[in-house]
């Protein structure tokens, strides 16, 4: 008995995984490059001479001259950009314009933001640790019990959370847990150098705020993904082959719903980094968000450019990681036909 036609010969020039990762890395690099141009132009196009604005009242002609030299503003835009980007790539985030204005010869941005970056990352990671399993869990439950009370309850709750801005959620939480119950500290003041983890009770409310605001979107997306996979043919076929319901849900429905959910959760995490700005301000948490807001206000170009670039890098990395996870989950991408 001859077997049916041989499966189509897979083209073996370069292993598909490497090609896939290669393409993604190249894409990420290009995006970062373009993002850096955007950031640079965005920040340096601010009206008024940057140096005089930073100096404010101390903007005597001599002081402006000196600061412009220090901030390399006298050089043509392109050289400024290449120096800045060159420095960034080697980890030198340049100087804080305000620092220079205060007469310091060298005010490294990294020294200013090393703590806030650490704090923001810790806050983001803790929130992510809760958000991912919760989104997947609740999303799956809502999908499996679609249309029934559990589904309605979860979707109403998530809708309500989406509806309120973070600072309202934050204030309500503080109102309940501090003003009324007085069980949790309302603010998260972390002395510099000390890790936020040293006093976890302070993190409870900020993390809760971020969770409530970001969980909703995650649940909705996972639910949508699951509902679609539950209607897939292979789920019906599995049931008709007598597989147990739990086995079908986990190994057939959930496994194929994971890939799209991962992409969505990555976007949710990206939002987390952006959304932290509000939450940090509400809880006076010494993170990147509040520092960035003051830097934009002070027109501290050095800090704004570097921090924006840092956030963009984290953004793109998250996308990359999400793509790699998807690569692991979806065999079709990993091993071509």
């Amino acid at each position: 008995m001859t077997t049916v036609a041989e499966p189509r010969a897979a083209d073996r020039e370069v292993s598909p995984v490497l090609a896939f990762v290669g393409r993604r890395l190249l894409g990420a690099a290009v995006s970062l490059l373009v993002a850096s141009v955007l950031i640079f132009i965005g920040t340096s196009v601010l009206p008024g001479n940057a140096a005089s604005v930073v100096l404010g009242r101390g903007a005597t002609p001599a002081a402006v001259q000196k600061l412009e030299k220090q901030m390399h503003l006298n050089k043509p835009l392109t050289t400024q950009y290449t120096n800045w980007l060159g420095g960034f790539v080697h980890g030198d985030l340049g100087d804080s314009s305000i620092g220079l204005a205060q007469g310091q010869k060298h005010a490294p941005v990294w020294a200013l933001i090393s703590d806030p970056v650490k704090n923001s990352l810790i806050l983001a990671l803790i929130t992510a640790l809760f958000m991912i399993p919760l989104s997947l869990g609740l999303g799956a439950i809502a999908a499996v019990y679609a249309g029934r009370p559990a589904d309605h309850a979860i979707s109403i709750m998530s809708l309500a959370a989406i509806a309120l801005p973070e600072f309202v959620i934050g204030s309500l939480l503080v109102g309940v847990f501090f003003v009324w119950l007085d069980v949790l500290p309302p603010v998260a003041i972390i002395p510099p150098g000390q890790s936020p983890l040293s006093d976890p009770t302070k993190l409870i409310l900020p993390v809760a705020t971020l969770l409530l605001a970001s969980l909703a979107a995650g649940i909705r997306m996972v639910r949508a993904g699951m509902v679609e996979t539950l209607q897939a043919e292979y789920v019906m076929a599995a049931r008709l082959n007598g597989l147990s319901e739990r086995w079908v849900l986990w190994r057939y429905a959930m496994r194929n719903a994971l890939a799209p959910s991962v992409q969505v959760l990555a976007q949710n995490l990206q939002w987390l980094i952006g959304g932290i700005i509000i939450t940090e301000t509400v809880f006076a948490y010494p993170g990147l968000g509040s520092l960035l807001v003051t830097a934009v206000g002070n027109r501290d170009l050095g800090v704004v450019q570097s921090v924006a670039m840092l956030i963009a890098v984290v953004y793109v990395m998250l996308n990359l990681v999400a793509d790699l996870i998807v690569l692991l989950l979806v065999p079709k991408l990993r091993e071509p036909a």
Binding site: S31, I162, G274, V296, I311
Partner: protein, 282 residues
């Protein structure tokens, strides 16, 4: 029973629509029932709700209930304008990228990815601190933030529709691309594309409220729900209603819109809840 009406029959659809109608009515006609002038201080600041002032007074002593009735219009118009403009930009980019199927598509999509790689709140902050806090800056800023997410959805929908028979027949007739898009493609992608407009509209409201909170959005003394929240937020312990009332209105609007949106999605036959996470917009 055509698709549009069916979603009304479903319980959540009906509830959603009634809530939206109620909130929009308050926003548009509320001002004619306002007992006091929203900008005039009527009694001591932050006084609790009383028979005269049903929701008490805000940090300046103005009647919260009157401001609530006045405050809806600007929130809804601003958010609607921003979302609308976002759709305008996003749809055109998405249609061109999806329909042309030529070199433009990857170029447009790469730039969309870059835009999505840019932290939106930061983009707004830089834009506002550069161009000032005018209302137009806010609307354009929020629209530009929404556009990439929208263009991605529109492109996917366009790709799917443009291989269908009726589109190819039109192309075979030699009709101009513009006519094909407007007559054949656009009507058939509106439903799936607009399903997530509810979520986007809510998100516009939230980002405007956040910008207000950071002090860069609408300027006092405008009576606006988002501004009322950020103005009175710090006195929540003293007079919670000054914050809870506007927050409740925004929450109601969001829940209403999204319940309606989900019901429409279900009535489309596919549980087409869009893949755009709130964050995808970000």
């Amino acid at each position: 029973m055509t698709g549009r009406l069916r979603f009304m029959r479903s319980f959540s659809g009906a509830v959603g629509v009634t809530i939206v109608v109620f909130v929009v009515a308050v926003a548009i006609f509320g001002r004619y029932f306002a007992p006091y002038d929203p900008n005039v201080p009527v009694t001591a600041p932050l006084s609790p709700p009383s028979s005269h002032y049903w929701l008490g007074t805000d940090f300046l002593g103005r009647d919260v209930f009157s401001r609530l009735l006045y405050g809806g219009r600007s929130v809804i118009t601003l958010a609607a304008l921003a979302t609308g403009l976002g759709y305008l930009i996003g749809m055109s980019v998405g249609l061109v990228a999806g329909f042309s199927r030529s070199r433009i598509d990857p170029v447009l999509m790469r730039s969309v990815d870059v835009m999505l790689a840019f932290p939106p709140l930061l983009f707004l902050l830089v834009l506002i601190s550069g161009a000032g806090t005018g209302v137009q800056v806010l609307v354009i800023g929020v629209a530009v933030i929404q556009a990439p997410g929208i263009s991605r959805i529109v492109r996917t929908a366009t790709l799917e529709v443009s291989v269908r028979g009726y589109v190819e027949a039109a192309i075979a007739r030699g009709e101009r691309s513009y006519a094909v898009i407007v007559r054949e493609v656009l009507p058939n992608i509106m439903a799936p594309v607009l399903v997530d407009s509810g979520l986007r509209f809510t998100y516009s409201i939230l980002i405007i409220a956040s910008v207000n909170f950071l002090g860069l959005g609408l300027q006092p003394p405008a009576s606006d729900w988002a501004l009322m929240i950020s103005d009175n937020r710090q006195y929540i312990a003293i007079q919670a209603w000054a914050v809870l009332a506007p927050a409740a209105m925004i929450a109601l609007l969001t829940i209403g819109i999204n319940l309606t949106g989900d019901a429409i999605a279900r009535s489309l036959g596919r549980s087409y809840v869009p893949k755009t996470a709130r964050s995808a917009v970000i």
